[in-house]
């Protein structure tokens, strides 16, 4: 006979209150919020559409740019012209819809797929491309892998490789803003894989305890490299995790630009009104590999991807705009041609920079002022390069 305190035994008198596990419960509790169907028809309440057509058109163009950029850069990587690339094909609506819902003065704490938001925040395309080359035009001075950009004038912070570290930074900045009396709300991104990391838990917990004005956006794209969502978390949804921390959680169709925008705007308004943080789960799909170092054919059957292609966020907005008479076929062609031309032109511009930043930049920015040993080490390296130029050559046997 089992005693009551044994593991697994539910004391008899508690059984009445115990809510049994019901599969699907949280999917029902956190329904997918959407405004526009796949065919472009408005299915949500029209008064929830927070974007006028002109603004939708601007974001549509940015989505097209983001997509073309990704396609072009993946090709460039295959040609060996850049070392690495991490794209967001299929996730453009999540990224641009949420970033566009924030005020200019708000800060963005990116994960690593949000280049579209950096460009929206004014990072010049040429500077972004220089970051991919790590050349003399790179604002990061060639120190980071491609796609680890930072753009301070746009309050777009620096990307770190360790997953989820930016989440508590967003909380700290928003907390600081509140202490200074600023209305700033921080927006931070992470994947559903990132919700397993400790910084996710501490970040959400800190924010909820203090009602810090942060919008947490999970790009739930189904996969953390090769690990599917159901091997990442035992939760049915990501949004439900908000309950445990004591904040609002919402599940949004991440391929619906208007829904993502409206949900983010609501979360932002609540944060600004002192009602605390929100966790938004944007359900989307990474239709390409995790990065150019990845081949999803090794772990993901193609038939899983097919339905998601129909849910393409760019196609959906195109259909929406066409239905409303806000985008003519010819106009769409013109937008796409313009984007292609711009990319081609700016790519040339970026490749015209010197291939490497100056040697002394290696020792800059470690500290505000270089420590004495850094000056010595620079002199040592300069002398070594002067004595034998092969020091700076990737293949040491080359003369």
């Amino acid at each position: 006979m089992r005693r009551e305190h044994e593991v697994g035994a539910v004391p008899r008198r508690q059984r009445g209150n115990h809510r049994e596990w019901e599969p699907g419960r949280f999917v029902k509790e956190f329904p997918l919020y959407r405004l526009v169907a796949e065919d472009g028809e408005l299915v949500g309440a029209p008064d929830e559409v927070t974007l006028p057509d002109a603004e939708v058109l601007r974001l549509y163009r940015l989505m097209v740019l983001n997509r073309s950029l990704d396609e072009r850069m993946i090709t460039l990587q295959r040609q060996g012209r850049i070392g690495f690339y991490i794209g967001s094909i299929g996730e453009e609506a999540t990224i641009l819809g949420s970033a566009a819902a924030m005020a200019e003065s708000d800060w963005i704490f990116p994960c690593y797929r949000e280049h579209g938001a950096a460009l929206m925040r004014g990072m010049p395309l040429v500077t972004f491309l220089c970051d991919l080359f790590g050349n003399a035009g790179d604002a990061m001075k060639g120190r980071q892998m491609p796609c680890h950009e930072a753009w301070r004038p746009g309050r777009f912070t620096s990307i770190s490789s360790p997953i989820s570290t930016q989440i508590s930074h967003a909380v700290g900045a928003a907390w600081a803003a509140r202490l200074k009396g600023d209305a700033m709300v921080a927006l931070t991104y992470f994947g559903e894989g990132g919700t397993s990391a400790h910084d996710f838990h501490t970040g959400l917990n800190f924010a909820a305890v203090r009602k810090i004005p942060v919008v947490f956006v999970c790009r739930n794209n189904g996969w953390a490299i090769s690990v599917p969502r159901e091997r990442q978390t035992g939760s049915e949804t990501i949004a439900q995790k908000a309950i445990a921390y004591g904040m609002r959680g919402e599940r949004v169709d991440g391929n619906d630009l208007l829904a993502v925008h409206a949900a983010t705007r609501r979360a932002r308004e609540r944060a600004e009104a002192g009602e605390g943080p929100t966790l938004l789960e944007c359900v989307t799909y990474r239709v390409e590999g995790h990065s150019t170092s990845d081949d999803p054919r090794a772990y993901r059957p193609a038939e899983l991807v097919e339905p998601w292609k129909k849910r393409d966020p760019i196609l959906r907005m195109r259909r929406y705009l066409v239905r409303r008479g806000a985008l003519a076929e010819a106009e769409d062609e013109r937008i796409r041609a313009q984007v292609r031309e711009e990319l081609q032109r700016v790519l040339k511009e970026a490749e015209a920079f010197a291939p490497k930043p100056p040697l002394e930049s290696l020792f800059e920015d470690v500290y505000a002022e270089p420590l004495p040993q850094l000056r010595e080490q620079l002199a040592e390296l300069e002398a070594a390069v002067a004595a034998d130029p092969r020091v700076a050559n990737p293949r040491h046997s080359d003369a």
Binding site: R152, T157, H169, G172, A173, K180, G203
Partner: protein, 324 residues
């Protein structure tokens, strides 16, 4: 001049800097009403309010990560890690975020902050309330590492650290928190980071230490003097940046060096000091550079006094090095 102990000096420095600069904020576990488990932040919340002296949930990674965001936004956070042993949950934030933010953003962003934490053994703290993890942080480019040994330096160095544009790890020798008393000027003053202090002049051997070990070394030097051996004693005060000039000049004069630290020996900071002195003083050396350190074991509970490099072990090393 008032007499203070290290805790009072730290408290005084925090108070003065918070009065001077409204952007200076303190955050950590129990730092508010309680004033910290060692009372270093006592009374600060009463004076500056709960918005500037903030109790946080129990998560060191969260404390430091939050401080990163605060610093990026323009505050000067002074996060407290309750014991240095618990800094490891924040290690990733410190090593990968705090230390690299300026560099990796090409100088666009920086996150100056002072991470204060009590370190070291000798207080019956066992494994997890006794460690000296300074080397992990000296090894990380982008961080400064400061270890005061007395109240005067604790106050002056902490004020410097708070005003420093770079992130500083500020290790406080908890064994000496109340034991080390001394005169401390009222009001603001700074002790510059990166300058060692020669606390005793001598010609026979150079003894190098920091934090609580300085007290053991000073005691050993006094005992050696009674035996007719005049030791030169250096309190490093700052491990990064390191005052190499003072060290090298001293060892060129004495021809002998003993490095004392309580962290384990292998890859401890003593190894770095021995390498620097070997590179720069080779032709002046009369004896091998010697280390007196903690052992390559976890920090013990019962045998902690045997583990710590106390004055008698230092004295033994002095005799051996001088008669080499």
């Amino acid at each position: 001049m008032p007499t203070m102990n290290i805790i009072q000096a730290v408290n005084d420095a925090l108070r003065l800097e918070m009065r001077r600069d409204p952007d200076v904020v303190v955050l950590g576990e129990d730092v508010g009403k309680f004033g910290g488990v060692f009372r270093a932040t006592q009374g600060l919340q009463d004076e500056f309010g709960a918005d500037r002296v903030m109790d946080t949930p129990l998560a060191e990674g969260g404390i430091v990560g939050t401080a990163v965001g605060m610093a990026l936004y323009g505050l000067r956070p002074v996060p407290e890690i309750q014991f240095a042993d618990f800094i490891f949950p924040a290690f990733d934030q410190i090593v990968n975020e705090v230390a690299k933010y300026r560099y990796r953003s090409g100088g666009q962003y920086a996150c100056p902050m002072v991470i204060r934490t009590p370190y070291g053994g000798g207080i019956k703290g066992g494994h997890y309330h006794s460690q000296s993890p300074e080397t992990h942080f000296v090894h990380t480019a982008g961080l400064k590492v400061v270890v005061p040994s007395n109240p005067y330096d604790a106050k002056g160095l902490l004020i410097s650290a708070i005003r420093d544009p770079d992130p500083v790890l500020f290790f406080e020798p908890k064994r000496m928190y109340r034991a080390a008393k001394g005169e401390v000027p009222q009001g603001e003053y700074v002790v510059p980071i990166g300058q060692a202090r020669v606390t005793r002049e001598g010609r026979a051997v150079t003894l190098v230490a920091w934090g609580s070990m300085w007290h053991e070394v000073d005691q050993a030097a006094r005992e050696a003097e009674a035996e007719g051996i005049d030791c030169e004693v250096i309190d490093l005060r700052s491990l990064q940046p390191l005052d190499t000039g003072t060290l090298v000049a001293s060892v060129k004069k004495t021809g002998r060096a003993i490095v004392v630290h309580e962290a384990p020996r292998t890859c401890g900071f003593g190894a770095e000091l021995a390498a620097i002195l070997q590179e720069r003083c080779f032709l002046h050396l009369e004896a091998p550079i010697t280390r007196v350190t903690g052992f390559d074991t976890p920090f013990p509970y019962t045998l902690e006094m045997e583990y710590l490099p106390r004055a008698p072990r230092v004295l033994k090393a002095i005799r051996e090095v001088v008669s080499y």
